[in-house]
């Protein structure tokens, strides 16, 4: 078995104490995924596992043997931009950029959840199809903090991409 990281099979760490975050950054030198709080409070380490957003700091790498992990490096490759990456630039969705990889991976997972109909804490009717209003995006992205305060731009960027995807 092995972890499939951005399409490439890699060996899990020999020491089970190694988090997925440290495995990505220290062993594989995929430093796009950031270590913020290292205790599940900030969202900077968010990656996608089989399309679902998770926190790599609270994940032991050995638990993800056989799973497909996508990091910010795997979204569009070195010479292209994922639509969310472009939208973050267009809407000033960052200042220092430290939370950005986590924000973008989280947003990709969030848009997929909304398409699937997963309700949120602010959804009035649990049975309704999800419309990604500002309030819905705020609630669904509450696990990703931005110390620079770029949240308004982040929400604009995410809603632009989600709306374009819904129309396509």
């Amino acid at each position: 078995m092995s972890l499939i990281i951005n399409g490439t099979a890699v060996a899990p760490p020999a020491d089970p104490r190694v988090s997925l975050l440290d495995h990505l950054r220290e062993t594989l030198h995929l430093t796009g995924t950031k270590k913020g709080c290292n205790q599940g409070a900030c969202g900077a380490c968010t990656v996608l596992v089989d399309g679902q957003r998770i926190l790599s700091c609270l994940a032991l790498a050995v638990q993800y043997d056989g799973r497909a992990i996508t990091t910010i490096e795997g979204l569009a490759g070195p010479d292209a931009l994922h639509p969310l990456q472009s939208a973050f630039i267009d809407h000033d969705g960052f200042q220092c950029g430290y939370c950005t990889p986590g924000q973008i991976c989280s947003a990709i997972g969030m848009i997929a959840e909304a398409k699937r109909g997963v309700p949120s804490h602010v959804s009035t009717d649990l049975a309704d199809a999800v419309t990604l209003t500002r309030e819905e995006v705020q609630e669904r992205m509450s696990g990703n903090l931005c110390r620079c305060g770029a949240h308004n731009g982040i929400i604009d960027a995410i809603r632009q991409v989600a709306t374009a995807e819904a129309a396509a």
Binding site: P16, R17, G43, L58, L60, V62, H121, S142, G143
Partner: protein
């Protein structure tokens, strides 16, 4: 993190065999245990990964639901039957943690998460009877805004942090467990303990016992149920007070009601006194206030949380008032 051995269990029998050793711990999504291990609050010598156990949600012959212990929180909250038949459970889960954590966290792990008392986590500077039995409790005279008002002891004033468990308490769920001595079930309300003089023990599970499933009984009036959480910020924070409630009306009388509170005790607090006061009576604000007064008559607030009985009362009044009008949001 203290070194440990890791093993993945293919099924519950293998998990119980691997977990029989008293230095072993079962690992679900890791959202609490990995953090506790990193802080050296938890130091298991062996982790038995039980995320490969049942992640199915099935209808029971009685008309309830059987939820595998490895079901992720998001999967439970979004399940169609939970949303329509037990909306308080969907809403409780969605009020907890962040989306990333809900995608990782399992049902079994949610039940067994430890308190978020900051003194429990502070291995360097604080005394805590839950972390280090007999060392003392720095929360009792410390910053205790988030702490318990019911069922606490001189040893421990911690609260149980789960939102999901508050709904499970209100719904009369059954917990399925397996251990070296075989399988058994227990009522949800009997799973978690009050602290007494052994706050280091959170549940009545014996060492090595594994939660394999949660069963929800049929409860048709739970279609009119909800969960409301009051916290210091609008999202991604633990509860100061929360209420899970279901209400059944017959004309202008309450024919049945289920109420549980979060944020008030060492365990999810099933409000049996309030329920008894309400059954058969009118759905008026005065009746709701009286029911809350009975439930919190024995409340023993601490220095920083004297607001909790009043906040819990106002939250209950608001929730039952909404449910009486058929509103579940």
């Amino acid at each position: 993190m203290t070194p440990f051995a890791y093993a993945r269990a293919g099924d519950s029998a293998e998990a119980v065999r691997l977990g029989a050793d008293t230095t072993a711990a079962y690992l679900g999504g890791g959202t609490n245990l990995v953090d506790l291990m990193r802080e050296t609050v938890a130091r298991p010598a062996r982790l038995v990964d039980v995320t490969g156990l049942s992640d199915r949600i099935e209808d029971t012959p009685e008309g309830g639901l059987l939820i595998g212990a490895a079901v992720r929180n998001t999967a439970l909250a979004e399940h169609r039957a939970v949303r329509t038949r037990y909306p308080m459970l969907s809403r409780a889960i969605l009020a907890g943690a962040s989306a990333q954590i809900r995608n990782m966290a399992t049902v079994g792990g949610n039940l067994l998460q430890r308190t978020r008392c900051t003194y429990f986590y502070d291995t360097e500077g604080s005394r805590c009877n839950k972390r280090d039995p007999g060392s003392g409790c720095d929360a009792h005279e410390g910053f205790n805004r988030i702490h318990a008002i019911l069922g606490a002891s001189p040893s421990c004033v911690a609260t149980h942090p789960s939102d999901m468990c508050v709904a499970l308490a209100a719904l009369d769920a059954t917990v399925h467990v397996e251990g070296g001595g075989g399988a058994r079930t227990l009522p949800f309300d009997a799973l978690h303990r009050l602290p007494g003089d052994r706050p280091d023990i959170d549940t009545v599970l014996t060492p090595g016992e594994l939660i394999t499933a949660i069963e929800l009984p049929p409860l048709p009036f739970a279609a009119t149920s909800t969960y409301r959480k009051v916290r210091d910020r609008a999202s991604y924070a633990f509860a100061l007070i929360s209420v899970a409630a279901a209400l059944e009306m017959e004309g202008d009388r309450i024919s049945d009601v289920r109420i549980a509170f979060g944020g008030v005790a060492h365990k999810p607090w099933r409000a049996t006194l309030a329920e008894a006061a309400l059954r058969g009576g009118p759905a008026t604000e005065a009746a709701f206030r009286d029911a809350a007064a009975r439930e919190f008559a024995d409340a023993r607030p601490l220095r920083d949380n004297a607001f909790k009985p009043a906040l819990a009362t106002r939250t209950l009044v608001a929730v039952l008032g909404a449910l009486a009008k058929g509103e579940t949001a």
